[in-house]
Point group: C2
Amino acid sequence: MTEAVQTRPGGRSARVRAAVHRAVGDLLATESPEALTIPAVAARAGVHPTTVYRRWGSVAQLLADVATSRFSGDIVVPDSGTLAGDLERWMSDVATDLTDPDVLALMRATIGSGPEGGCACTVDRHDQLRAIIDRERARGGKVPDLERAIDTLLGPLYYRAIFSDQPASSAWARGLVATLLATM
Amino acid sequence: MTEAVQTRPGGRSARVRAAVHRAVGDLLATESPEALTIPAVAARAGVHPTTVYRRWGSVAQLLADVATSRFSGDIVVPDSGTLAGDLERWMSDVATDLTDPDVLALMRATIGSGPEGGCACTVDRHDQLRAIIDRERARGGKVPDLERAIDTLLGPLYYRAIFSDQPASSAWARGLVATLLATM
């Protein structure tokens, strides 16, 4: 560590955050969820447990921070020129993201530790879906209600990822888009 | 404790299981999910931690046992005479069950600690939906595909319970049934 880095608290703070986030990901990928404790995260990140307690307070808050960071801005809202094209591309990207075991492990852990009502892992998905619908409205096209789109598209997709052993293929996800557009 | 009870291992075993299950429910209702450890469960149930480790092995397996017990046979498959009537009654019962904070806490904890692919909290729901569809088929009626029914009915319902802050009202749940029947 150089002296220049040591004297920049922002730089050190960002490095600690990155190391702690990485430690959470590593532990979720390799250990049982019960092993995710603040002392274990601190040991793996090479920082003092007090640093983690002071900054995040609890495993639940730490997981929420990791999830917000992981699930924000990770998927670009497509602009294919049509509502059907945008929704199909976006659903395919979200479905592909949910096939990553590390993503699923983080999502399951965040659900398990979070409070009721909402999850940091889907806030950005709702914003992206709203952006797709708003763009079609700006084009002058007919649009579905946002809540109905969430129910019809994200409901089955996340249900399959979390509660069912059925695969969520791209073809199946495109079928959900067809159902939404046919019934709006 | 009477001597007759003490000499019946089955009776004692069932009592230990009930006490441990109750302790899990109490801890989930009153503490943060991080507090759900085997020593804490054992202390609350008034049994030795070794008893819990030996019988359930881990928090994940204990939670799966509690969830299987809680979510099995709790909702009766209705028999109203029509597919629409059966599905509406059943969806209303499932939606009502999901408004119970204790049910949500158990479900979230089970998701967080379980392996990928499937959850003890929905296995019985799939069996119930299959039974409703099979009965309509026996009546000679037209029926939806089971996977499509799971996607259309349970997907949005569980998504709202876990990922969204939108309420899952009975009227809204009946709307999902109408969508399924209109598009099958």
